[in-house]
């Protein structure tokens, strides 16, 4: 069983269902549109901001504000790519065709990750340029120090969120259960843990909090985060690796 055959097969699978198109389109549109909206609002409010906020002002990060919502569409993409197999019964046909479960799983993840990376990077660049256009005189340039890193990082962040969701979906199998856990976690729980001072120290090691550090260009003045942008991304990668490893072990052991 050549892995390249399985990758080709998984590409046919992913491009032949509607959910791929609508989840990824939603991620692109929401991230860019919400980023533009918040950038435009910030430009109006800039003169009313406190001196401290002005010092911490990060035009690059502002243009990625839409990701808080856009990432939810990436989560749906990641979950559906995997759990569609289970909810439809296709998994039995798939594993009968490719009984090497490791090859099956990692070919599927590789194809979905590649697609998410292309879409994520494109979204990140477009969100940056359109967001900066909205910011007018307060904008950052792509050539400014660390800005290019943040923009590429935005694409990586969206990709990793999707891959993390794939790993969780392999473990849980059910799309409703996976979404029911991941959506509230990333939309609410993580934000609450990260903003309440008592839990902040734990919250910042969660995948999204740590990973989003890569999109910051200006470090807020009272920020005491013990890791830098790449350190944060590495923490997120560890989460992703853990989710995939858990999924792989369960898929290997379970009856299909």
């Amino acid at each position: 069983m050549a892995a390249i055959q399985v990758v080709r097969s998984e590409w046919t699978k992913i491009r032949s269902v509607a959910s791929t198109v609508w989840t990824l389109s939603l991620a692109v549109v929401v991230t860019i549109a919400l980023g533009m909206l918040i950038s435009a609002l910030t430009r109006h409010e800039f003169d009313n901001m406190s001196a401290k906020d002005k010092l911490s002002f990060d035009p690059t990060f502002i243009s990625f504000a839409g990701m808080s919502l856009g990432q939810l569409a990436m989560i749906v993409f990641g979950v559906l790519v995997v759990s569609n197999e289970y909810s439809t019964g296709m998994i039995r046909t798939s594993l009968a065709a490719v009984p090497q479960r490791g090859t099956f799983l990692f070919s599927k993840i590789a194809v979905a990750t590649g697609l998410a990376l292309v879409v994520g990077l494109a979204t990140s660049f477009v969100a940056f340029f359109l967001g900066q256009a909205m910011l007018g005189s307060h904008k950052a340039e792509i050539g400014d120090p660390h800005v290019l890193r943040a923009v590429i990082g935005g694409g990586l962040y969206m990709t990793l969120i999707a891959v993390f969701s794939m790993g969780v979906a392999v473990m849980l199998r059910s799309p409703m259960l996976s979404l029911g856990i991941l959506m509230p976690f990333f939309f609410l729980v993580s934000n609450i843990l990260g903003n309440v001072s008592a839990t902040k120290k734990i919250g910042r090691y969660l995948p999204d909090q740590a990973g989003s550090k890569i999109m910051q260009v200006v470090t807020p003045i009272d920020d005491d985060t013990p890791y830098g942008p790449w350190g944060g991304l590495a923490i997120m990668v560890l989460w992703v690796v853990a989710a995939l490893a858990g999924g792989y072990v369960l898929l290997k052991r379970r009856d299909a």
Partner: protein, 322 residues
Amino acid sequence: MIQLEGLTKRYGEKVAVNNLTFTVRPGIVTGFLGPNGAGKSTTMRMMLGLDRPTAGDVRIDGQHYDHLKDPLKYIGALLDAKAMHGGRSAYNHLLCLAQSNGIPKSRVAEVLDTVGLTAVAKKKAKGFSLGMGQRLGIAGALLGDPRILMFDEPVNGLDPEGIHWIRNLMKSLAAQGRTVFVSSHLMSEMALTADHLVVIGQGRLLADTSMADFIEQNSRSYVRVRTPQRERLLDILHEAGVTVVESGSGALEVDGGKAEQIGELAAQHQIVLHELSPQQASLEEAFMQLTAESIEYHAHTDTPQDAPPARQQAWGDGWNRS
């Protein structure tokens, strides 16, 4: 060829498949028969490496399933008609299976034509009827032109034309020298298609025999006799050394008896006969008898509480009439 060696599957305390050993040979249709819940599907899933056996072994042409390179070229299986993504077109469903096993694209159009789905190739599978879904599943099984084919309850939910088509397909595949293994819970269906029979009940092997032997051994033939002079006839038959069973409705049943012999005896003693008819118990009854003890979910709807437990044969009779 498929070889099972002491195959066992336990779910906690419950034994779904219990120490199955048999071989499925090429060139014939082997029927895999058992009541609902006997463990047929579990056995088939283990054959395909989907479920892991608790003990024992299955080999496909001497190899474990997960060691097969491009397994669809060795063995094609229809497990259930809905094991596919409804949002994908029939063509793309088959294309992704073909690609995963290095089967040329041209083969997809060929099998679609074989099963008669060419016209709906671009349609999404969720719009398909049960019969069309079954055909698409069979197309997937045929895709790799495999030497072994496996069908789990292929005629379920099909119209007569579809059933006829599947029967002929299975026979022609076997005639080409392929191994064909097909499960069913209907003896009558198997009698029409299978050359060899493997019967299981509660996960245990009950019979592994050729269809012809099974019919010969299991179909009870008897002669039914009705007469107003019942006692006299009983005496005469007893003297002649013929064993008689009294059946419930006042008729007599003579096991293995010849109608001519009984008729002549009656004539000699001037006994009036109202009925003298040779009977053949159906294969369905033979199957019911074989599996009666192992049926997991008995239907006890018409048994009164205070009545003595019904004989197994009586239960079979009732089923046959309904």
